[in-house]
């Protein structure tokens, strides 16, 4: 890879042809989601936490934390650890990543 670095990417070409601007709404959503994910990942650095604990520490609603956590679980960034007594799982950063 990287042998022909100067060739235009097809995404760049389409961007140019359409004179594409990222819609403001979409850009805002991407930024927000990135911020939430960064906060969650930071919380989990070096420890295991439940959704409730992350929510409290990061100041994000539990349902939002859980949604992003499960998305990151799908993309192999986090994984469940043990289950606590009140039926909540602890989560941690995926090992080996």
């Amino acid at each position: 890879m990287g042998e022909a670095p100067r060739r235009e990417l097809t995404s760049e070409r389409l961007r140019r042809e359409l004179n594409f601007q990222v819609p403001e709404e979409l850009a805002r959503r991407v930024r927000e989601a990135a911020a939430i994910r960064a906060k969650i990942l930071k919380c989990l650095e070096g420890r295991e936490m439940t959704v409730r604990e992350i929510a409290r520490e990061a100041g994000i609603p539990e349902s939002v934390v859980f949604w992003h956590l499960m998305t990151m679980y799908k993309y192999n960034l986090v994984e469940p650890a043990e289950k606590t007594e009140d039926g909540l799982y602890k989560y941690r950063l995926k090992r080996g990543r």
């Binding site: 979409l26 989601a33 499960m70 993309y75």
Partner: protein, 442 residues
């Protein structure tokens, strides 16, 4: 997509098939396979990036409790590789014209995946690279997916697709893809196809639960639909276990509300949706397996366990300890701790009661997914007042238009065994029609 679609090109080729089957769910796949096995050449058109319809999203299926994937995925694979079947996914039927008896002209838009299917290996690295997260449709929003994504591990084709409406054209996926499969130069193409017959198998869509306002769906995170529960129980599930969406806690006391958007004039659907009793009974059994300590309560009016082996399946749920309460649920409200209060009329005791559950599942009914009927030009496919395609009582897969057949949930809600029978029946009737057309032409 709108801007992209403006760049659509007309394809030069003139393709022709014996039949165009619209819809790649279990009905469309079965109809295509049956026709193909009888020697007819079929074009199977699916709107989504993968075939499989609703069935391949499900957990296990009643009354045998086979895993749905075990039945659906091999059929998907078979449909994709049958020599008599041409499969077009991510394609939309734009126009159907009846030219003559046994002669249809079908315009089909093939949307660009922006992924070269023959190069993509389905490795998923593009997904990791993509910075955009949106709710995943195939998990009914329970978690997110990227703007470039592989629909599911069991998808056919198991290839990435770019959701161009949510793509910011940042190029991350293109840089990451080791196969060089990302290709934003792809353009939409419109094909004009000749076919001698058409089979409509576009299936159903779930009743939009938010329309039943008193049940709080959309406002109360722990009120979910039965399709969402299917995903939670499926092998390709979104979470690591059955967990409730508000806080990821394992539920211990689950309530099922039957007839959510069915048998309900105020919700615009006076009819019964035919499958909700059984899928709820099935989910209850699966939940007792997944969460051995959980209580499951089903609020019902009549339990419609009518098919082969269904009554026995229902009795099994009762003997496993699923609680059945004869009552119509009036209102559902969320409590501050995420729990859910269900207010219902207990008809056996004749009074209003309430119960608190930590997760409530709405057994939503089925409505027709009949958008494609608008594409018919010059002829009208007759539907009933809910939009289900009307069929001939003597030939329950034949529509009012000669040469146009229908099968599966598009003619009325039905379970998988009945759908499969109907799809094979549609293939048979279609084959008989094709034979007759042939005989007249020679």
């Amino acid at each position: 997509m709108q801007k992209i679609l403006e760049r659509a090109e007309a394809a030069g080729e003139q393709l022709s098939y014996d039949a165009v089957v619209i819809g790649g769910g279990i009905a469309g796949m079965e109809a295509s396979l049956s026709l193909a096995d009888m020697g007819y050449r079929v074009l199977l058109v699916e709107r989504e990036p993968t075939i499989g319809g609703k069935m391949f999203l499900l957990s296990k299926v009643f009354p045998t409790l086979d895993c749905a994937s075990c039945i659906a995925t091999p059929k998907m694979a078979a449909a994709a590789r049958h020599p008599n079947i041409t499969l077009w996914t991510y394609s939309e039927v734009r126009r159907v014209r009846a030219l003559d008896r046994g002669a249809f002209e079908v315009d089909i838009l093939r949307k660009p995946r922006f992924v070269n299917e023959s190069l993509c290996t389905g490795c998923g690295l593009c997904e990791d690279a993509c910075p955009v997260v949106v709710p995943k449709e195939l998990d009914f929003g329970l978690r997110g997916r990227k703007a470039v994504y592989i629909p599911l591990d069991t998808a056919v084709p198991r290839k990435a697709v770019v959701d161009i409406d949510n793509c910011i054209l940042c190029g991350q996926c293109e840089r990451r893809c080791p196969a060089g499969a990302i290709d934003f130069t792809q353009k939409p193409r419109v094909y004009r196809v000749r076919a001698r017959a058409v089979v409509i198998a576009t299936g159903c869509r779930p009743f939009p639960a938010e329309l039943k306002e008193a049940y709080g769906y959309g406002r109360t995170p722990n009120v979910i639909t039965a399709l969402q529960m299917e995903r939670l129980l499926a092998p390709t599930r979104p979470y690591n276990a059955v967990l409730r969406p508000s806080d990821g806690r394992e539920p211990g006391n689950i309530g099922y509300v039957l007839c959510a958007g069915s048998r309900d004039v105020t919700a615009g659907n006076p009819r019964c949706s035919q499958v909700c009793c059984m899928y709820s009974i099935k989910q209850a059994q699966l939940l007792l397996g997944a969460l051995p300590l959980a209580d499951v309560t089903i609020y019902y009016m009549d339990v419609r366990a009518y098919g082969k082996g269904f009554e026995e399946f229902y009795q099994r749920a009762r003997s496993m300890g699923v609680k059945f309460v004869r009552g119509r649920v009036a209102r559902i409200e969320g409590l501050p701790n995420g729990d859910v209060r269900v207010m219902y009329e207990d008809v056996e005791e004749g009074r209003l009661k309430s119960a608190v559950h930590d997760l409530v599942v709405l057994a939503v009914g089925l409505l027709p997914d009949n958008e494609v009927l608008k594409a018919f030009e010059g002829v009208t496919i007759h539907t009933d007042e809910l939009g289900f395609v009307k069929v001939d009582p003597e030939d329950p897969v034949r529509t009012n238009v000669e040469g146009v057949f229908a099968a599966g949930c598009i003619t009325g809600p039905k379970d998988i065994p009945d759908t499969i029978l109907e799809a094979a029946a549609a293939a048979m009737r279609c084959a008989a029609f094709l034979k007759e057309v042939e005989a007249r032409q020679t």
